[in-house]
Amino acid sequence: MKKNYFKKAVALAGAAAFAIGLAGCAAEEEAVVAPTTGDTAVVAEDLTIAFVMGAESDPFFQAMKLGAEEEAAAQGVTLIWQGDPSNYSPETQIPIVDAVLAQQPDGLVLIPTDPTALQASVAKAVAAGIAVANVDTRVGDLSDVLTFITGDNEDGGAKAAEAIANAIGYTDGETYEVVIGLTSATATTNVARKEGFESTIAANYPGINIVDVAYSESNPEKAATNVNNWLTKYPDLDGIFAIDGTNASGAAAALESKGLVGQVALVGYDAYPDNVAKIEAGIFTALIAQDPAAEARLAIQTLVDYLRNGTAPANAEVVIPNVTLDANTSAADLVKYTYVAN
């Protein structure tokens, strides 16, 4: 009997929560949508948008999740948020996409972990009448994809190069030593940022030599190890480009423990709250930030617009620029770009 009571209580609580949630959605839908479309049939239709991302453990996707939830609530649509807890790979992602498609959502936002391997999943979704958007990364053939929204990683790398050159007071004719801390040799974002960084250095700052690179394998402690060893090997090191949040954390810690804060320029990536706090403390010369929440909001907005009103987006590809955060950035902007933790 006791067990039954407990089950009933849980079921009731669940049902109540669900009802409240529905009521909330319905209210928002009417408020937001009814005046603009005036079509009650569309309003009554409960849209479901599935969002399959790369790896839950990545703060980038955590920030994206908040943007997606916000926009789904604002649009009054149901959001299915899915993805592997920690593996960024097509092997784990494809079955997740299959499972999500079986739930028959109206739209799918997909962050393909591989441009080729996920192409079939996109085709499968479209064949089932599901509209597909790509965010951050894309499948090779975009013809089935309604919209592709991404941050410009190459531009981010270029901005990092500018920030480093500024910080070390670059003068023509002088030579400088800079290293790059990467997560892996193949991660597409790493590759694009590195390319942007290298090409800007080559074009504008020929005196800067990129003397070394190393991989942290997503582990900040390994990132710190890399920087520790570089500081020993290159006693005159001028700057470090830490290509993502993990490398940024590790490099910042290494500079602090070696007492070299301010002596070696450090440009990081990804506005984790902890990293943003370290701009103010002078540990980061600059931090390049993406806006994953904006990417997610725009993707859901575009899909909902298309599903409700049949309006296709004006541009099939949208690039949301990266921004440089440094000591001169206003407090409001620092807050705006910080990856929010809920």
Binding site: D212, N219, N229, T232, K233, D274, A341
Partner: protein
């Protein structure tokens, strides 16, 4: 009675072998140091020694616990996850609960750090006890039991932290070499050496250690000899968990933040150190000194390859060769061939 004699006899034999193993390991370490110094003269420096010891600190804590577990005939795959969740929980308590942020530094950071350290060890202990319950009460084999706690701890570390590092109070001088010109040890590493030495003495000089070897050699015989195997294994996994929790705190000190991704794959580094150190995954064989030097070899290779400018991917290959060589050396030894 012969069953209770057997472990003792074996223990004596392995003591002799281990002495030998240590000298082999030290030779490997010295050879590596020479090779890397030839490749990059700056490798032979106090700074490099400091870098290697700083890296060594966290893994040797994991590996010390892993040594106990492996000698007892088990395996603990959850130590990396335990490191992560302990560091994150500790950071969360210090920053969110106690309200200290990264601006608290120097000796002002000691009171919250003390609390944080206890929280980390407590978290690790809790995970270790869960492992013990899964293994001794629910009779799940250690590989599977700790595989599931590995997933759970890594997952919870992400949930608590939203996948982002949690910054908090810190005194970075605790993790920096005491004197960069002549003293590569940091206070944190000295603490680690004290803890690992204590665990080593516990393993080799106490009845607890003797029982650990006995269970790993033959748990039926150990039971017949009157050892409460379940209770003993509970202690072993709890201790391994607490040490992993302490490692989580060490990594917190190193980063000034609790990072959910700091534990990923660390269990494999720990197991590699133990295996290079000469312990057998079959149980009953292993020495703490072997593990200590095994971990030193791992990080000498890591630092050496970075310093020598060798492509980072080669590190994995070199470590793989070392593990294979260590295991081969073990099985080819005449005493072990008879098994």
């Amino acid at each position: 009675m012969s069953s209770s004699q057997q472990p003792n006899l074996r223990l004596e034999r392995f003591k002799a072998v281990a002495g030998n193993q240590n000298s082999i390991l030290l030779s490997v370490l010295i050879a590596l140091a020479i090779v890397f110094t030839l490749a990059e003269p700056k490798f032979f420096s106090v700074a490099t020694a400091g870098n290697i010891l700083t890296d060594w600190g966290s893994i040797v804590l994991l590996a010390a616990g892993q040594t106990l577990v492996i000698i007892s005939g088990g395996i603990d795959l959850s130590v990396g996850g335990t490191l992560a969740i302990s560091g994150v929980t500790s950071a969360w308590v210090m920053s969110t609960v106690l309200g200290f942020d990264i601006t608290t530094s120097g000796s002002d950071a000691y009171p919250p750090l003390l609390v944080g350290g206890l929280v980390a060890i407590g978290t690790g202990l809790l995970v270790g006890l869960i492992n013990a319950i899964l293994i001794t009460k629910l009779r799940i084999v250690p590989f599977v039991a700790t595989l599931s706690t590995m997933g759970a701890t890594l997952g919870f570390a992400i949930i608590i932290s939203n996948g982002m590092p949690i910054g908090g109070p810190n005194d970075f001088s605790l993790i920096s070499p005491i004197n960069p010109t002549w003293m590569p040890l940091s206070w944190a590493v000295i603490g680690v050496i004290i803890v690992v030495t204590a665990v080593g003495l516990f393993l080799h000089k106490s009845r607890f250690g003797l029982h650990t070897y006995a269970i790993g050699s033959n748990s039926f015989a150990a039971r017949a000899a009157g050892i409460n195997v379940e209770r003993h294994l509970t202690k072993v996994y709890a201790l391994a968990g607490a040490l992993a929790g302490l490692a989580g705190f060490y990594v917190y000190l190193r980063l000034g933040a609790g990072s959910p991704s700091s534990g990923v794959m660390r269990e494999l580094d720990a197991i590699a150190a133990v295996v290079i150190g000469g312990a057998s995954l079959m149980g009953g064989i292993g020495r703490m000194m072997g593990t200590i030097i095994g971990a030193l070899i791992l990080f000498t290779v890591q630092s050496g390859l970075i310093m020598a400018g060798v492509a980072p991917d080669w590190k994995k290959v070199v470590v793989a060769v070392l593990i294979a060589a260590a295991v081969a050396a073990q099985t080819l030894r005449p005493q072990n061939r008879a098994r």
